[in-house]
């Protein structure tokens, strides 16, 4: 019985690794996970918002080679396909844009556990003005572990998913800060 369970698990992991990125809201477990990170950017809120709100031109730490855009820049329509240098592709949808709260929502439609051991990954990015020259960018993500069933293997459990998303977000926030704060002309 144990052999069967282990074999089944390995089979599921193999299928997850080999299958093409799946459609919206793929199978997932019973326990949503969250990560919240923030960074202070030395720039006024309007300037940070103009960058964060530009869904078609994401500032990212990922090695993006080119981007394809569709859907009018409107929530629940706009999509961006990020083609990465290593041949992988990520499709993300704009799910929310709230100009009053300075918040956007982005949902990753393509789950790929080689890239990120988490599925159904959605981000909410919100800005908060500290003073005239400083803005806090808060990045909240909701997702599930990469293994959708019971008793996940250690490489696809909740802790691995949380650590990977945390690393991703910290990288993205740092890239954003660097981009916005770089001196004019560089």
């Amino acid at each position: 019985m144990m052999m069967h369970a282990t074999f089944f698990k390995k089979l599921v992991v193999a299928v997850l690794l080999l299958s093409p990125p799946c459609a919206v809201y793929a199978a997932h477990g019973a326990s949503p996970l969250k990560v919240v990170e923030e960074i202070k950017v030395d720039a006024p809120l309007e300037k940070v918002w103009s960058v964060v709100d530009d869904f078609a031109h994401p500032i990212s730490a990922l090695s993006i080679e080119r981007i394809e855009i569709s859907g009018n820049n409107a929530p629940d329509q706009a999509e961006r396909r990020l083609f990465l240098k290593d041949g992988l592709m990520i499709t993300e949808m704009l799910t929310k844009r709230d100009g009053e709260r300075f918040m956007i929502g982005v949902h990753r439609k393509t789950d790929n556990i080689q890239l990120l051991p988490a599925v159904n990954y959605t981000s909410l990015i919100t800005l908060r003005s500290l003073d005239q020259d400083h803005t806090v960018v808060e990045w909240k993500a909701r997702f599930y572990r990469g293994y959708p069933n019971n008793n996940p293997p250690p490489e696809l459990n909740d802790d691995v998913a949380v650590m990977a998303v945390k690393k991703l977000i910290i990288g993205e926030l740092a890239a954003l800060k660097k981009h916005i704060e770089k001196p004019v002309g560089q």
Binding site: N149, N150, D158
Partner: protein
Amino acid sequence: MIRQTLCSVIFLFILFFSNSILADEAFITAQNGQSLDIIDLASMTKRLSVPIAGKPAGVALSKDGRRVFVTSPEGHFITIVESKAGGIEKKIPINGGPLGVVVSPSGERLYVTDFYDDMLVEIDLNTQKQRYLPIGSKPAGLALTPDGQTLLVAARDDNQIIFVDPQRFRKIDQLVVGRHPYGVTIDAAGQRAYVANVESDTVSVINLASRQVIAQLKVESHPYGIALASGRIFVSNQHSESLSVFDAKDLTPVATVKVGDYPEGICASIDGAIVYVANWFSNELWAIDAVTLKVRAKTATSDGPRAFGLFVAPAL
């Protein structure tokens, strides 16, 4: 002396009534923080936080409010908590991933959805015996009619509500609702059921006598749970930070109320005057006046309040 006695009487009077009229309690499962928060709803303060492992999600209360039943999908067990002192009475192992939970009116049996193994589980609380019934793909929310004669289970990935006869522990019917039904609520008269369809942004209204969908209510993005209070239907919309409110009689929309981030579990106060909603992302419980729709109070919870089930009980 007389004055002192009078003061004591008045004090006791206030204490008695403040307890009996106002003091419902909420039992909030914090899935990420891995605890059960017990919140005094009169003062909107956390009275206790009971550590519970295994990512607790579902919650149900015995009719007398003395026992709390909590599901831990990742721990594969149910925890029975004594509601007053927060002591752990028992841990019941379950094969797969227990998610939704309801108690029979007699308090003798639990019905639990096993999200990972696609089962409905019946637990006899006297004998500890368990029965498993294959129920459909990814069973989530469930609800019992007040007479305990009919059980409705949302088979999420089958887009169906399954009707179960709890006595015979058998499927008796099934009904297609919307895409990904999740939370299920039945009214006090046992006439209607309401089902939140996460992916179609609708609530299906079911006539329980005819077992037909009589209306599909359009709500905001990703509805999760439903509460019934003061003749109204309240729906928590996860992605819209809002509650959609409808008149329960003619099913017309009343208003949309802004709440915290990722509202999930939602439940009415015992008297139906207030609706409580757990906001998963912002870690808060909000109290909304069911009549004026104003936010009456907010309180912080442990991390990731899910509160999936009927989580309000009268204080003991």
